[in-house]
């Protein structure tokens, strides 16, 4: 006797539901694993880098004696700029420890103060020459070794010979602390300075500007070129062997390892055209090559997703091909193109390898002033700092990573937001 269909179905139901539950579980597990990894990454970076945003500062009362700064009283800029402010700062520090007379000992004491203190004092005096003859209260970052000490990153229990700081130095620093002269503040240098040999003075601003110029060049080149190429391929080019080859090669180009683009840039832009090394212009050119296929592909997808009915509608009332594209197709595809462009830009922002090849890895202590000034970019700065021996540079590196990630997240969020906002249903 044939069994009832309902019974057969019912008998298999449990098995099907179990399989379904398992299937869902796999997905949830995968997402959880990804979340855990991401979380770990963030926790690690933030715990290492967060302290870099805080600087240990020393507050000194520095008498700005006219004899040192401007003995002739001319207030001339050259005189003010060339004055020995270091002596003033060190004198103020010495005043805190009158008993330290030995020259070698003194030098060890002077190591507490960073070079930054000198620059800070000069800046203050030059901004306001009326300060000459008065006593200035100067709050300035301490040298990076003492910064590490203050943040508890130095293992005091180690034998003295294995430490960069000896017991005396630690003692002096603790004395200063007891006198209430040591405080913590926001690390200004991190945001306004370019790279420096002294970790406490090194900042990411130079690299940030370098990245900005590089990306501007990349955007200015790859966006119009990418859109133009995509519009031609989608709207004008006939489907034949040639366009097939072009299409395949664009896809291949998108898959080429980025270091190869760096070599290309080195050979062509530096070698052949003789453009300056380390310049954002060359970096932008190289990154344009790399981003172009991404933008072309994204733009073509966006153009394809514009329904043909819109093109037909425009052509059907006698719009020319160009009017159809400019008035209707491109505006509708633009959100998609922009999303692709932002994602391409985010990738360019995080790119290191090709830039190493064109010399953007050099030590550059000045903030770049244009697309031809030597500069470096954020990810390369991270790479440089990661390579440095000082513990304090590693802290800077983590901070730079946080900043870089923040920019990437902002850009990707903007891409998602754009897509959501302009998403259309036809």
């Amino acid at each position: 006797m044939p069994r009832n269909i309902t019974d057969i179905v019912r008998a298999g139901l449990k098995k099907r539901y179990r399989a379904e539950a398992r299937f869902r579980l796999y997905g949830i597990t995968a997402i959880l694993a990804a979340l855990v990894l991401l979380f770990t990454l963030f926790v690690t970076i933030v715990s290492q880098g967060a302290s870099a945003f805080v600087a240990t500062e020393l507050t000194l009362s520095v008498p700005v004696t006219a004899a040192v700064v401007d003995p002739e009283g001319t207030r001339a800029e050259a005189t003010l700029s060339g004055a020995n402010y270091r002596k003033l700062v060190l004198d103020a520090l010495d005043a805190q420890f009158p008993d330290v007379q030995d020259r070698i000992e003194r030098r060890k004491l002077h190591a507490i103060v960073s070079d930054g203190a000198t620059y800070d004092l000069r800046e203050k005096v030059m901004a306001n020459p009326a300060l000459i003859g008065t006593t200035v209260t100067l709050t300035t970052p301490v040298a990076s070794d003492f910064d590490m000490l203050a943040k508890g990153q130095v293992d005091v229990s180690q034998p003295e010979s294995l430490r960069r700081l000896n017991d005396r130095q630690i003692g002096w620093f603790n004395t200063l602390k007891e006198r209430g002269l040591v405080s913590f503040g926001l690390d200004r240098n991190l945001f306004v300075n370019a790279d420096s040999r002294q970790p406490e003075l090194a900042g990411i601003f130079g690299a940030l500007m370098g990245s900005l110029y590089t990306l501007l060049v990349t955007l200015a080149l790859s966006f119009p070129m990418g859109v133009a190429a995509a519009v031609y391929l989608e709207e004008y080019a006939p489907r034949n062997r040639l366009t097939d080859i072009i299409e395949v090669n664009i896809n291949n180009l998108a898959a080429v390892p980025s270091i190869v683009f760096g070599l290309l840039g080195l050979a062509i832009f530096l070698g052949f055209f003789g453009l300056p090394r380390s310049a954002p212009l060359v970096g932008g050119l190289v990154l344009s090559l790399m981003t172009l296929p991404t933008i072309i592909i994204a733009a073509r997808v966006a153009l394809q997703s514009v329904p043909p009915s819109i093109r037909e509608a425009a052509l059907g009332i006698g719009a020319s091909k160009m009017q159809t594209v400019l008035h209707h197709v491109l505006p509708l595809a633009l959100p998609g193109i922009m999303t692709g462009t932002i994602i391409g830009m985010a990738r360019a922002l995080g790119e290191t390898a090709p830039l190493l090849m064109i010399g953007m890895v050099a030590f550059i202590a000045d903030t770049p002033e244009g697309i031809l000034s030597p500069s470096t970019v954020l990810p390369v700065q991270i790479y440089i700092w990661a390579d440095s021996p000082e513990r304090a540079f590693l802290e800077r590196m983590s901070a730079a990573i946080i900043i870089l990630l923040t920019f990437l997240v902002i850009m990707n969020t903007a891409a998602v937001w754009l897509r959501r906002k302009f998403e259309r249903k036809w």
Partner: protein, 271 residues
């Protein structure tokens, strides 16, 4: 009994309309999509200021033929048109003919309502604007209003001309598309299954509109609904497998078709 044996070779007649005001005169048109021969030796006359309906099963070539009348086939890769399509004696496939000008003369309404994702006003104003028809803003306003009025949509949208055209109902969207087409004052309006996405009420409104417009425009409509062809058209052409089988007055086609294939198709005794 009617002889049901049929040879396509026999279908070479080109229905002519002597003594009538002819808009299109088509001679031996063949259309190829790559290797596919989509239209075979089609020839007929299409009269001015009346509605001609093209009917036939899917893939019979009726849409292809419609699109060869304003060269929309040009957009399709590998599409080749041979033969003559004369609009008032002028061959639209002649090299000196400008497609843009042709499409301004021969407007088109599509199967799916496809208003631009812009305001109702902009939808209608677009055509006159790109062709530079209106000299002033007032004139443009006038064209928009009269087009919407002729499309029977003015009363429904006069208060929201700035609202997006895509926000209208399906039937209103299709009438907006018709308004957009007539805004450039074409001589001919081609309609490719204009009601296939609409409900019966919206369909009736569009059909009423077609009827109204037929006094001023030559309208050619492709439809899958034989009843619709019967309701709106004065002449009906039946296509099958790329051949024009029969073209006659609509009442003759639906009451007493001469060709067994036509008979089979319209009575539902097909294949």
């Amino acid at each position: 009994m009617i002889d049901q044996s049929f040879h396509y070779e026999g279908v070479t007649g080109h229905p002519r309309l002597p003594g009538r005001d002819i808009k299109f005169s088509i001679n031996d048109v063949n259309v190829y999509y790559g290797p596919k021969h989509a239209l075979k030796n089609v020839g007929l006359d299409i009269a001015s200021r009346e509605v001609t309906a093209f009917i036939g099963p899917s893939g019979c070539g009726k849409s292809t033929f419609l699109r060869s009348l304003n060269r929309m086939n040009d957009l399709i890769d590998g599409c080749r048109v041979e033969g003559q399509v004369l609009i008032e004696g002028e061959d639209i496939y002649a090299p000196e003919v400008d497609v843009v000008e042709l499409r301004a003369r021969v407007g088109m309404v599509f199967q799916k309502p496809n208003p631009f994702p812009k305001s109702i006003y902009e939808n209608v104003a677009y055509g006159p604007r790109i062709h530079g028809i209106a000299r002033s803003r007032d004139e443009l306003d006038g064209i928009v209003q009269s087009s919407l009025e002729r499309a029977g949509l003015w009363k429904e949208v006069r208060d929201r001309l700035d609202a997006p055209g895509t926000g209208l109902s399906g039937g209103q969207q299709q009438r907006l598309c018709i308004a957009r087409a007539i805004a450039v004052s074409p001589e001919v309006i081609l309609m490719d299954e204009p009601c296939s996405a609409l409900d019966p009420i919206a369909t009736a409104k569009v059909e009423e509109l077609i009827d109204e417009l037929s006094g001023n425009y030559t309208i050619i409509i492709v439809t899958h609904s034989m009843q619709q062809a019967a309701r709106v058209s004065q002449r009906t052409a039946f296509f099958h497998l790329g051949y024009l089988i029969e073209c006659e007055q609509t009442d003759v086609i639906f009451m007493n078709p001469q060709h067994p294939l036509t008979q089979g198709y319209i009575t539902g005794r097909f294949g």
